[in-house]
């Protein structure tokens, strides 16, 4: 590794740390009630911080990171830089099962539990991913694979819409807002739950780093340096599904973070080494989501935007830019 690149890595990570700290504190301080470090911590402000802003900020941070890492894992799996949980319909699959759960279990019996929500989302995510893998075995074409993912997303969304159309209003209480993607419903229990799940998944990710590194040269070469392809593939899929399922369960489908952030990090670091890209993607995803959430809250306050609207607004142009660039380099 050339010294220039080491220097670059240090700068990028330092920058990410600073940005993350800044975004975190701004998210805590800014809102309808402005709080700064001089504000006296009376009961009311403490309540706002501890019960509303802190959980929300933690969620945006943890889940944003999770989404970016999930995207990175999928990109490695499909050897395709445009793969991501949202575009491949994995988020929609998770959304479908969570909606199913919310309408029929939570709505009717009035029972919710964070872990069961994640489990429901996980099942949906795995289902979509399973479909994608089946299709990817038949078509090797990158564009066709994405089209298939988008179609699966549409199917899942259609089924979700059906369910919503036929459900009673009382059953939809929990669903509103959530299905568009928003961190507004965050509470402390959910934040703790997501921290536990995401930390676990991230630790497992680091066990996979060596295999992911080898997979950059494709399966045959990865095998030849000792990677057990079958178990490695299953682990990647499980991990990326659980990460994106966790996001969908708590915040609904959030678009483009999974594609845009890993791409930005690859460009910033000028490397595709998983051991540095996974933490970098996590941190950048966290920053991206924190800023997006802040904008969703503040741009048209007191009206709150969907976080997906904000992430799309910033993420989609990045993806378009990426496509143009790749196209250019493949022509040369």
């Amino acid at each position: 590794m050339p010294a220039k690149n080491n220097y670059r890595t240090i700068v990028v990570f330092a920058l990410l740390l600073v940005l993350m700290a800044a975004a975190f504190s701004v998210n805590i301080c800014v809102g309808n009630v402005r709080i700064d470090f001089n504000t006296a911590l009376d009961h009311k402000t403490a309540n706002i911080i501890l019960n509303i802003r802190l959980p929300r900020t933690i969620m945006a941070l943890v889940l944003g990171g999770a989404l970016a890492v999930s995207g990175f894992l999928l990109q490695t799996y499909f050897l395709n830089p445009i793969a991501g949980p949202y575009i491949l319909g994995i988020s929609s699959g998770a959304k479908m099962t969570v909606a199913l759960f919310l309408i029929y279990a939570a709505g009717r019996k009035g029972y919710t539990n964070n872990f069961i929500m994640v489990l429901a989302a996980f099942a949906g995510a795995l289902m979509s991913t399973g479909f994608i893998i089946l299709i990817s075995k038949r078509v090797r074409n990158m564009a066709a694979l994405l089209a298939a993912g988008i179609m699966i997303g549409y199917i899942c969304n259609a089924i979700t819409d059906f369910m919503i159309a036929f459900a009673d209003d009382s059953e939809l209480v929990n669903l509103h807002g959530w299905s568009q993607g928003s961190f507004s419903g965050a509470d402390m229990a959910g934040a703790v739950c997501s921290i536990i799940i995401v930390t676990g998944a991230m630790l497992l990710c680091f066990f996979l780093v060596k295999s992911l590194d080898a997979l950059r040269l494709g399966e045959a070469y990865a095998r030849s340096v000792g990677v057990n392809i079958r178990s490695c593939r299953i682990l990647i899929i499980l991990l990326s599904s659980i990460l994106s399922a966790c996001v969908t369960a708590f915040a609904g489908p959030v678009s483009f973070v999974g594609i845009a952030v890993p791409f930005l990090m690859r460009e910033a670091l000028q490397s595709s080494k998983p051991v540095i890209l996974i933490p970098a993607s996590f941190m950048a995803g966290a920053v991206f989501c924190l800023i997006s959430d802040l904008m969703a809250r503040m741009l048209f306050a007191p009206v709150e935007l969907n976080i997906s609207a904000v992430t799309s607004l910033f993420g989609a142009p990045i993806v378009i830019f990426m496509l143009i660039r790749r196209h250019k380099s493949s022509e040369n």
């Binding site: 050339p2 950059r216 095998r223 030849s224 340096v225 990677v227 080494k273």
Partner: protein, 346 residues
Amino acid sequence: MKIENLSAGYDRKIILHDINITIKPGEIISLIGPNGGGKSTLLKTIEGELEPIGGTVFINKKDVSRISPKELSKELSIVNTQRVKPELMTAMEVVLSGRLPYSKGLGRFSDIDRRAAADACELMQLTAISDTFFENLSDGQKQRTLIARAICQEPDFLVMDEPTSYLDIRYRLELMDVIKRLSRKGVTVIMSLHELELALEISDRLLLVRNDGEVTVKTPRQVLDEGTIAGLYELSGGMYDRVKRQFEAAGQKEEIPKAGPKHSTFFLNKECEYYPCHELNEESFSCLFCYCPLYDMPDCGGDYTMTEKGAKNCRNCSFVHDRANYPKVIKRLKGKLYGCGTDRRL
């Protein structure tokens, strides 16, 4: 390595059957045969990527389809024909990935790993481009990078599918020298080759893979004498005569240097048993002497005497030290290979 009653193919469809061969350590085995005959299938089965349909491949007495990829990765490395497109990965990183079986947790490399990769880069003449991104390399450079990757994995068995593809004639010849050197160190090399003359020159034995799924083992001499090539490639009489003339011309030239002891023809190698074997000064020595592709040609054009060890002692090197003159040398090399255009003046 031992291959017993092996049948290989895809999806239960047998393409090759009844393959039996015992390969000694350090042997060079080439697979030759027509396109689509199943050379790659056989190589993939040997390296454990495909499950054999029948029979077994043993590596160091262990069944290849049974041992874990991890264990296998320290004994066998591969170069295949699949084109890889890693993003933002430098040539050095690609080479280093061959050291992953030896790396510590999180894929961290030790100094030994880095040195092995650097050595492999030097061997394949990649040092100048080691920091270039793989996607920006030429096809030949990519191929050499992948070969360096396989070499720095330090395998007992090197399995390569058409390693000479994309390489120009100079790198092709140099690759053959590298392979010879590896084999002398005890590395068994199994590869498919399209260039028959190279296969006949370098291999200890040849595996002839026929279109009908029959695989036979022959020495290069047998192949030349028995006229097996015509049947193997289904050549017509006229086509075969042309091929044969080329082989005979190449073969005759080959005989002469083979009589004397072998020596390092390509490397600046102070550990070479013949060093110092000539009276040239160090500069021209490091520049070309040991690289000289004309080294084993009796009529290389320069004056020399033979040392008692049987090495050439060059006086006035005829090999042009100037890049502009390379085409002339290449022409001469072609002459050496194909037995035509034997212009004695360089």
